[in-house]
Symmetry: C2
Subunit: 233 residues, 2 copies
DNA sequence: AAGTGGTCTAGACCACCTT
DNA sequence: AGGTGGTCTAGACCACTTG
């Protein structure tokens, strides 16, 4: 493996990653100390450290003070994807975006929603159902619950014009976000809403957000057939 | 907002993130130059830079030389998930892992596979179909194509004992990985294989990997109903 | 051409964890 | 108690991008 004269931390990262992947350092192995690697590679320890931080964040190695750096024994593929605001996504693809609020009421959420929100004391929340359209065709149907205790202002917002998704993203910071991805089979209702055959396989993107432990919202976004979520690493 | 006397880069990151979230810096706004922030906060520019790198990777800001740092105008939710080796996933849940190779031949891949691999000149590849089981029940069915031009050794491996997934992860580094997530409806064949009702909604995790532009493999992992992929940010 | 982010280096000290 | 990673600082120079 040849290296440039002047090493950047990405060079070092790629070099080490290469040796992890070609099993010079096999899963479970201990890597040399940062200082030794720096000496061997001919760069500053800071540079090696920065490389290691990245490998650690990628899940390739685990680092412990005094314990040193180890290659993860059980390699994983770590992938990242973006969940954009649906309007932006449609417009970016060159489509015409449409939005219909089909339900808005205040009610008691079912236990599954309370569990997803990690809310222990049941209370009424704002319940919304809405359809996002691309070029007039159903794109994503969303079923959303918003905790009015955390976001009381939303009761005053005209959600028929601006989607709750958009208002929240722009106005309500969150500190934690959980995402669950799974598939369901279209019920008769969903098939009608999404204009697809009954029993179509539908991708569900379920998302809950919090601001320092206070629940903001839980949303089930059900995509029309053909929808793909793209991730990369 | 109060700050510790001695600032770490995570302190700075959280401080800036706080001001982005509370809209002191609103979407689209330009942030001060690193050097100015460093002066105002009373730390080295390096520290601010490290904080900014993190915010940039999280998708909160965009940085350009000379252009400066801007809060992303179109906020996205960036989520990360792990795709483990299926055996590890099952065992971690306390289940008993099983594996059956149901097909192994060398054939011409369909155009969809060639496209996924970004292979322009059609050639024969190793085609595998396998079923992963948890506690004896179908868990994930995989349909895989492996490019023998990139990974000729795999032809000699006993893939009835060790899954291709596992062999590849441990023996073949990759430099790029694309993931596509979508849902399908169970065909009669799939329903039989996965022991579920026909027309069940099934989550598909399609993955292609390359090593410096040379295709390694494309795999369609079709999960049995109930399977959830968990992500977080 | 100039401004801004990107990175390196060297030395220093801290903090956590294992022994 | 000692070893290892974690971080800071200051100054320097590079490289991209915009005006």
């Amino acid at each position: 493996m040849s290296l440039p004269q002047r090493l950047t931390w990405t060079d070092v990262r790629d070099h080490i990653r290469g040796h992890i992947l070609d099993r010079t350092y096999a899963p479970g192995d201990k890597l040399p100390r940062d200082a030794d690697l720096a000496r061997d590679l001919g760069c500053a320890r800071t540079t090696v450290h920065r490389a290691m931080q990245d490998l650690s964040q990628d899940g390739l190695v685990e680092r412990k003070r005094k314990g040193g750096t180890h290659v993860r024994a059980r390699p994983v593929t770590r992938a990242t994807f973006d969940i954009p605001i649906i309007r932006h996504e449609v417009e970016q693809k060159g489509g015409r975006y449409g939005y219909q609020l089909t339900r808005r009421d205040i009610a008691m959420p079912p236990p599954t929603v309370l569990a997803a929100c990690e809310v222990t004391e049941p209370r009424e929340m704002l319940h919304l159902e809405a359809l996002h359209l691309a070029d007039g065709r159903p794109y994503i149907f969303e079923d959303r619950w918003i905790d009015l205790k955390t976001v009381p202002e939303i009761a005053q917002v005209d959600l028929a014009r601006q989607s709750a998704n958009e208002w929240l993203v722009l106005n309500r910071p969150y500190t934690r976000c959980d995402v669950r991805l799974y598939a369901i089979s279209a019920s008769a209702d969903l098939a009608r809403l999404l204009d697809c055959g009954p029993d179509s396989g539908l991708l569900v993107i379920e998302r809950s957000t919090w601001i320092t432990d206070a629940a903001i919202t839980t949303v089930k976004a059900i995509a029309a057939p053909g929808y793909q979520l793209l991730a990369a690493s």
